[in-house]
């Protein structure tokens, strides 16, 4: 029943979307298809698969920009950048394993479409902040572009922001230009074990407020620590971790000074361990799902004002029980048992002035409860108007972001 269309260039993509419009057939838009559990279930008979639009078109390390087909795999982009000592500073996570998919299959279009960023978000910003320009085909079947190929640009509306995190519901990206940055020479991580949740969050905020420029701030219950780095003990209490990146001398200096300022017991991770640890935090590895699993365990991602995190964590643990990982302003929460604990999680997130997204759950739960945070009627009205302007026939990922 399912038809798959895999355009090889932008003009085929235009034809494909024109065809959908003409036939009144909605399609599910996928990069390489790893993020299908994200967003509300899509009711579509056709799958439009973008990984044919692949390949790096222009990479100018001196200009700090890279242009490639939107279906280019993230791994290809990152390998190319590594050769020149550069990287995507927003540290894109690989969330495939959360859905029982293999790691390393994401495309750059999928990462931008979901606006995904990792632990360095606290310092470098989100995917949206590194998205400079694109070519795309809207649900009208028209190819268009926005933004540019340079790092600074205010010519016209910033449609890159609109498409980042739009989950393929407005337009299908065919080509993207992103900002790239030099990779830090070194990284080191300060681990602060045996704290209470309150204490741990307070330490992270003190680090954030310091001029020592940390590039990762996370904490978790101690029993989770060995899942992030096998050599870590599952002590009592809660562990905070602070990352520093930069030239060797600077990293050593800053980590040492932070340790002295914060006081209490601590441990330092070297280069390799630090790399493995933050990769696991960024990918939310403790919550990965086994490949063969039939019923997905609900998993939430909350975006919070940083200082509210301790209170939210304590309430969630008391009211619902479950496991959690705080990564900067982002809190991962897996409720105990099979329930989504939707009312509790949403109420706590909203009460703190933040938002909660149901990243993973069985289809029936996602369809019933909705995946994305509720918004006011005024905002919903504008979002619906934007959607009908870009995709009036609703052929792109219908139902992905909401009704």
């Amino acid at each position: 029943m399912d038809a798959q269309v895999r355009p090889a260039d932008e003009s085929e993509l235009v034809d494909a979307i024109m065809g959908l419009v003409a036939a009144g057939t909605p399609a599910q838009i996928i990069g390489a298809g790893t993020k299908q559990g994200f967003g509300r279930p899509v009711n579509a008979a056709v799958t439009l698969r973008l990984d044919g639009l692949a390949g790096i078109q222009a990479y100018a390390p001196d200009e700090l920009t890279l242009t490639c087909g939107a279906g280019t795999s993230l791994a290809t982009v990152e390998a190319q950048l590594r050769e020149h000592g550069q990287e995507l500073a927003f540290e894109p996570p690989d969330l495939g394993p959360l859905y029982g998919a293999p790691s390393g299959t994401a495309t750059i279009g999928g990462v931008l479409g979901c606006n995904l960023a990792g632990s360095r978000r606290v310092r470098a910003g989100g995917a949206r902040d590194h998205f400079l320009g694109f070519r795309a085909v809207s649900g009208r079947g028209e190819a268009f572009k926005a933004g540019g190929h340079v790092v600074k640009n205010v010519s016209g509306y910033d449609l890159c922001k609109l498409l980042a995190g739009s989950f393929g519901t407005l337009a299908t990206l065919s080509e993207v230009t992103v900002k790239v940055l030099p990779r830090a020479e070194r990284a080191a991580t300060l681990l602060l074990p045996g704290r209470t949740v309150d204490d741990a969050v307070r330490l992270l905020i003190a680090a954030w407020q310091s001029s020592l420029e940390p590039s990762g701030l996370c904490c978790m219950p101690a029993e989770l620590a060995p899942l992030l780095l096998a050599s870590l003990p599952a002590d009592a209490g809660c562990v905070a971790a602070i990352r520093f990146e930069g030239p060797e001398g600077s990293v050593r200096d800053r980590a040492g000074r932070m340790r002295d300022t914060l006081g209490g017991p601590s441990q330092q991770l070297g280069e390799a361990e630090s790399g493995a640890f933050w990769k696991a935090v960024t990918d939310a590895a403790p919550f990965a799902e086994a490949a063969a699993v039939q019923v997905a365990r609900p998993l939430w991602r909350l975006s919070l004002p940083p200082a509210s995190a301790a209170g939210v964590i304590q309430q969630l643990v008391v009211r619902s029980g479950g496991s959690w990982l705080l990564d900067g302003s982002m809190l991962w929460f897996a409720p105990a048992g099979d329930t989504s604990a939707g009312d509790i999680v949403r109420a706590e997130a909203e009460g703190a002035g933040g938002t909660a997204t149901l990243l993973r759950a069985p289809d029936s739960v996602r369809a019933a409860e909705g995946v994305f945070p509720r918004q006011g009627a005024g905002i919903e009205r504008i979002a619906a108007a934007i959607r009908s302007g870009f995709d009036p026939s609703g052929v792109l990922n219908p139902g992905r972001l909401g009704a």
């Binding site: 268009f144 926005a146 340079v150 010519s155 030239p247 934007i386 870009f390």
Partner: protein, 495 residues
């Protein structure tokens, strides 16, 4: 400047509108006297002037919402205005429009150090935010040269940058929430004190929307801890090319300076005469490179920058000895505009961005255009991100000079686009570059942009005549042109 045809019926009903507005904003908040309206006839782009029909200065979000609702109902156009320092004519009034000034929204509402943010009204100046938090060691990073005067609401509307944006990003990277009132009078609260607002990133599209999508009545900005150490170097080169090469080499060696500014010989001379900043007058190009971070990191980085500069044939290298000298280095660059003001009755500041590597060729091109149009030009630029600010000198009293200055400016921007760059790096499109948009965007591009506009303001009453060379009616933009019969992939079952 061609502007939308004034609506005679709206102008005829002016007295009645004044009454209705006074019922919403009492006292002196509604301005109708020509003498007082004159203060609003232009913004930082003084070449264009128009008297607004009325000016209204509300003080609360409720008043803004009521004013917009009233005007929406009566089909009256609105021009939002912050401090009026914009350089692209975004706040240029309309003869049949109400200029809505946000100057009375001048309070900082909350300083939240724990969440590293400040909640402020839009009329607060950019610098006032840093002033409010600096005693605790924090600051707001984007620093337009106009920061003592420009409003944070205007910064959001223009997505403004500054000399420190290379490392810390422009406005859009430094705000997490706004309150916005739509033309229909709906009050929307978007984002908050957390990153990544839910749903479509409306915060992202409002930033840089030049007052065309809504009126911003509150902003939440991120604040950062002040760097422990800041050092600057003044580096002179025998050619533009040598300076440009140095910029590229610094970046490609993995150093991201807090700021990296460049000036050409004419700009160096003018700035030095004005500010006595200690600039080398024999240099063809001058770089100010500023690094910040911890003491040891800055010392190491500066040593590397200077080594690179010497390899690039720098003829003059001076590191600041103390804070006073660092401020002196910047004083010349930051006074480039007033310095030009002394050399010429008028000037316009262009704002294209190019791929950095194209710098020497583009400057050669600008020199050739200067000869062709018979007008002098001085070049200052945010070299780190390729954002050029050619300052074209002219005399506005001479109509021919104004016309030549405009043509020269347009040619510079077309050159930027042809070299892979863009029309505006930070000053916005406004009326100034509106008619050049087709040099960068084709019809489909512009129509998709306008579809965003239609979602916020379907009647096109908010700041019309800005940004888009041609305003399509939203009903027309909404139509689908389906080519029935043309079915690609005929082999697929559902097609």
């Amino acid at each position: 400047m061609r502007m939308p045809e004034p609506d005679a019926a709206v102008i005829a009903a002016r007295a009645d509108l004044v009454q209705a507005l006074r019922a919403i904003v009492p006292g002196e908040g509604v301005i109708e006297e020509e003498r007082e309206l004159l203060a609003y006839e232009t913004d930082g782009l003084t070449a264009y002037r128009e008297l607004p029909m009325l000016v209204v200065l509300p003080e609360t979000t409720e008043q803004v919402a009521a004013v917009l609702k009233l005007c929406h109902g009566r089909g009256v156009k609105i021009v939002p205005r912050g401090a009026g320092t914009g350089l692209s004519g975004g706040a240029l009034p309309l003869r049949d429009g109400v200029t809505l000034g946000l100057g009375r929204f001048n309070r900082i509402l909350e300083i939240d150090y724990d969440n590293l943010c400040v909640v402020t009204q839009p009329g607060v100046t950019n610098l006032a935010i840093t002033r409010a938090v600096e005693d605790r060691g924090f600051y707001y990073a984007p620093d337009p040269s106009s920061q003592i005067a420009c409003s944070i609401g205007g910064n959001v509307a223009e997505n403004s940058g500054g000399v420190h944006c290379l490392k810390y990003g422009v406005t859009t990277n430094n705000i997490t929430g706004v309150e916005l009132v739509t033309m229909a009078g709906d009050v929307l609260r978007i984002g908050g004190r957390h990153p990544d607002p839910a749903g479509y990133d409306l915060l992202g599209v409002i930033t840089g929307s030049e007052g065309l999508l809504g009126v911003i009545t509150e902003v939440t900005v991120k604040i950062r801890p002040k760097p422990e150490c800041t050092r600057a170097a003044l580096i002179g080169f025998p050619t533009i090319r040598a300076g440009a090469t140095c910029v590229s080499r610094v970046i490609s060696e993995g150093i991201i300076p807090a700021g990296m500014e460049m000036m050409d010989k004419f700009a160096i001379e003018a700035a030095e005469a004005f500010a006595h900043a200690g600039y080398p007058l024999d240099a063809e190009s001058l770089l100010i490179v500023e690094l910040d971070g911890t003491v040891s990191e800055v010392a190491d980085g500066m040593a590397r920058v200077i080594a690179i500069a010497r390899e690039c044939e720098a003829t003059h290298v001076r590191e600041n000895a103390d804070e006073a000298e660092r401020e002196r280095f910047w004083s010349g660059r930051k006074s480039a505009f007033p310095a030009m003001g002394r050399l010429s009755p008028d000037y316009i500041c262009m704002d294209g961005t190019i791929p950095r590597g194209r710098l020497p060729d583009v400057l050669d091109g600008i020199t050739a255009l200067s000869k062709q149009h018979g007008l002098r030009v001085a070049n200052v630029f945010h070299a780190g991100d390729g954002n050029l600010h050619p300052l074209i000198l002219y005399d506005a009293n001479d109509a021919d000079q104004l016309a030549r200055a405009e043509a020269f400016g347009a040619d510079i921007l077309k050159l930027c686009v042809a070299e892979g760059g863009v029309l505006s790096g930070e000053h916005g499109i406004g009326v100034e570059k509106r008619d050049l948009m087709p040099a960068m965007f084709d019809d489909a591009d512009l129509k998709h942009q306008q579809r965003l506009k239609c979602a916020f303001d379907p009647d096109g009453l908010l700041n019309p005549g800005k940004m888009f060379p041609e305003l399509h009616r939203c009903a027309e933009l909404g139509k689908m042109h389906v080519h029935h019969g043309k079915l690609p992939f005929p082999h697929l079952p559902r097609f």
